[in-house]
């Protein structure tokens, strides 16, 4: 590679699980990121933040020694600039400022604590770097950066971010919460799966691009595991659903230490990827995807690329990009429905009423478009889940507003139910058609035609009902059900 005179930069990502370094020439004359050195260390800062809210002194010391090692590597390659960012775990640590000051003083590295919008933008730069160089990149693509504390999810159209969100379901969080046995138990798996399934289906994502790229330490380690354990072709960085199921089987059969020894992995990483595999599987299953492309480039390469493009203005430009994205993208309901044992009943009820109603209402526009029959099903399921919550809290609700809003939701659910039942009948008949005799086919077609006509006429009724639905009024009515003044009549 040429370009001995081209500036060299080092980019550091201080994540919840891992600290990572890339040293590269920025920009290389041929436009390709010329990577000179990479390094990483699993410190699991998030473990301490999740447990106590702060970064423990042990984790601080460990992180500092890793950063000093990174600094030495940057110096070895004559890097003129060191760019460092910190994400979720540091973002929420109560002693964040003290920690960043120590790094500045002891390692001479200025760390920028970035928000979720910036994180998504920089990750997207890195993860799609290879893709963006191809002659015909796909029209729609999604990128997930599975970190330890959070998972960033980005959807892009024509390689421009059209939507993104930060989900609090990082591999470290899921591991610490559900998968602490080694190897994890079946019950652990079931609990984690239920949580992930409930969480992901609760997002109001109506359409998901068919191509998904995943980046992050756990995703890359799972690829290595699959390649080493099952002999996957190392020239293709793709994990199918089946590959992931096989990885899951292996990770539930052997301890992390044995996995690490057999397949030359870091033991700490081998423990965390139990959560990683469940997150990936849940995502594929929820959004009906067959495979995931694994990108070895992530946020640290994104930082290096941002610097290559904008020099000293890299941070300001990335912030502006992130701001634009934030303004342009639609927001989804990412409220986590975690209800803890010790939470006051009425408080959990207030939150659940609103989050479930918003999830249901989030499907209204898609149903009105009448392009995706699954939207009717999803809105109906959301209405049932809302009613299940209302049924649970009914006895502490104000009677009059409860009765009125319950009837309103049931009315919507009934209209959706007729549409859905008709869709199911039509689908069932179409399936029967494939294996039917000629005479049977004639009868089935007659019925499909009749039902399809009916479905069209019912759609008009459904649309009328949904258009009449006043979102704000519905949410106000739900709030009134569990209003303060009703608490004194709470029992019975």
């Amino acid at each position: 590679m040429q370009g001995q005179n081209v500036p060299v930069c080092a980019a550091i990502d201080i994540g919840s699980n891992t600290l990572r370094l890339v040293v590269a020439r920025c920009p290389c004359p041929d436009g390709v990121l010329d990577i000179l050195e990479t390094d990483e260390a699993i410190v699991r800062i998030g473990e301490s933040v999740n447990a106590t809210g702060a970064i423990s002194s042990e984790k601080q010391a460990h992180a500092l020694s890793v950063l000093q090692r990174f600094k030495a590597l940057a110096t070895k390659h004559s890097a003129q600039t060191i760019l460092a960012i910190a994400t979720e775990a540091i973002r929420k640590a109560s002693n964040r400022d003290d920690f960043l000051t120590v790094i500045q003083q002891e390692a001479g590295i200025e760390v920028h604590c970035i928000d979720g919008d910036m994180e998504a933008t920089l990750t997207f730069y890195g993860a799609t770097y290879e893709l963006s160089k191809s002659a015909q990149p796909p029209a729609k693509v999604s990128v997930m950066d599975m970190g330890g504390g959070s998972t960033e999810l980005v959807i892009a159209k024509d390689m421009q971010i059209s939507w993104h969100t930060s989900l609090p379901i990082g591999s470290g969080v899921i591991h610490d919460r559900y998968l602490t046995a080694d190897p994890p138990t079946e019950a652990d798996r079931a609990s984690a799966r239920i949580f992930l399934h409930t969480y992901l289906t609760g997002l109001q994502l109506q359409q998901f691009p068919p191509i998904l790229f995943a980046t992050g330490g756990s995703a890359n380690t799972l690829l290595i595991l699959a390649q080493r354990a099952f002999g996957l072709d190392t020239s293709h960085a793709i994990l199918t659903h089946e590959d992931l199921v096989r990885c899951e089987g292996l990770l539930w059969a052997l301890s992390a230490e044995e996995i690490a020894q057999r397949y030359q992995l870091d033991t700490k990483r081998a423990r965390i990827i139990t959560a990683g595999v469940l997150i990936l599987l849940s995502l594929l299953e929820t959004f009906d995807l067959k495979e995931v492309h694994i990108s070895s480039y992530g946020i640290r390469e994104g930082v290096a690329l941002a610097y290559a493009r904008n020099g000293a203005q890299w941070l300001a430009e990335a912030r502006q990009q992130a701001h634009n994205v934030s303004q342009a993208t639609s927001h989804v309901n990412t409220n986590v429905e975690i209800v803890t044992y010790h939470e006051e009943f009425i408080t959990s009820g207030r939150r659940l009423f609103l989050t479930r109603a918003e999830t249901m209402l989030g499907w209204r526009d898609v149903v009105l478009k009448h392009e995706d029959s699954e939207a009717v099903h999803k809105m109906r399921v959301a209405s049932r889940r809302l009613r299940a919550v209302m049924d649970a809290y009914q006895s502490i609700c104000q009677r009059r507003p409860f009765k009125a809003v319950y009837a309103q939701i049931k009315d919507i659910a009934d209209a959706l139910g007729i549409a859905r039942d008709t869709d199911v009948m039509i689908d069932t008949l179409r399936q029967q058609l494939e294996q039917a005799s000629a005479s049977e086919q004639a009868g089935i077609r007659w019925l499909i035609d009749g039902l399809s006509e009916y479905r069209m006429s019912h759609q008009q009724l459904l649309e009328k009902r949904l258009l009449k639905l006043d979102k704000d009024a519905l949410l106000r009515s739900l709030k009134a059900c569990l209003a303060e003044e009703g608490e004194k009549h709470g029992k019975g």
């Binding site: 209800v339 009425i346 299940a388 039917a436 005479s439 009868g443 009749g450």
Partner: protein
């Protein structure tokens, strides 16, 4: 299916985990109140009610999953399985009822059509397996099925009945397998742990 039972004596200011157990216990009772119909393949409405009650229990456990012990995960999986089996059975029952109504309508002419229309006007919402307005629409169609189409519908009906029989057998076997494992007691035990 009747509305879910109101769970009385809940304290608005109690811990969510405590109330969650009371609510789930009521939903569990509701589910097992339909268990007596499992052996009767043709208790179509009651099996449908069992499905709805199962779904209500499942949704309730899902809402409060984080307040329950880990064993809740495996229980939820089984409930989802039962619900799916009963769901497939219900889909077949609905199709079979639809075909019978269509074929009956063709057999019986105007009188039958009128009685269906009357049902459509007076039926309580959600109580009928086939939406009366749908039936009225199908019977109003200017052209009924030709003899060949009718023969096809008869064949389809027989075909669906065979499929339904198989699905019922699978569901019943699963139900009894869970009974052998004292599934109901497993849920009660799980709810007893705070």
């Amino acid at each position: 299916m009747a509305k879910a039972k109101v769970v009385a004596n809940l304290d608005a200011h109690a811990l969510t985990g405590q109330n969650a157990r009371a609510i789930a216990s009521v939903r569990l009772e509701e589910m097992y109140s339909w268990a007596q119909y499992v052996d009767n393949s043709y208790s179509v409405q009651e099996l449908h009610n069992l499905r709805i009650a199962t779904k209500r229990l499942r949704y309730t456990l899902e809402v409060f999953v984080d307040t329950f012990p880990d064993a809740c995960g495996a229980i939820l999986k089984e409930l989802e399985h039962i619900q799916e089996e009963l769901g497939s059975l219900h889909d077949k029952d609905v199709m079979i009822a639809l075909l019978r109504l269509c074929l009956g309508g063709q057999d019986s002419g105007g009188e039958y059509e009128q009685s269906l229309a009357a049902v459509a006007q007076h039926a309580h919402k959600g109580r009928l397996m086939i939406d009366p307005a749908m039936m009225a629409h199908l019977l109003r169609s200017s052209e009924g099925p030709s003899p060949a189409q009718r023969e096809g519908l008869e064949a389809l009906l027989r075909h669906l009945q065979r499929q339904r029989k198989r699905q019922y057998t699978v569901f019943r076997e699963h139900w009894y397998k869970l009974k052998g494992q004292d599934f109901q007691h497993q849920i009660v035990t799980m709810l007893d742990v705070s």
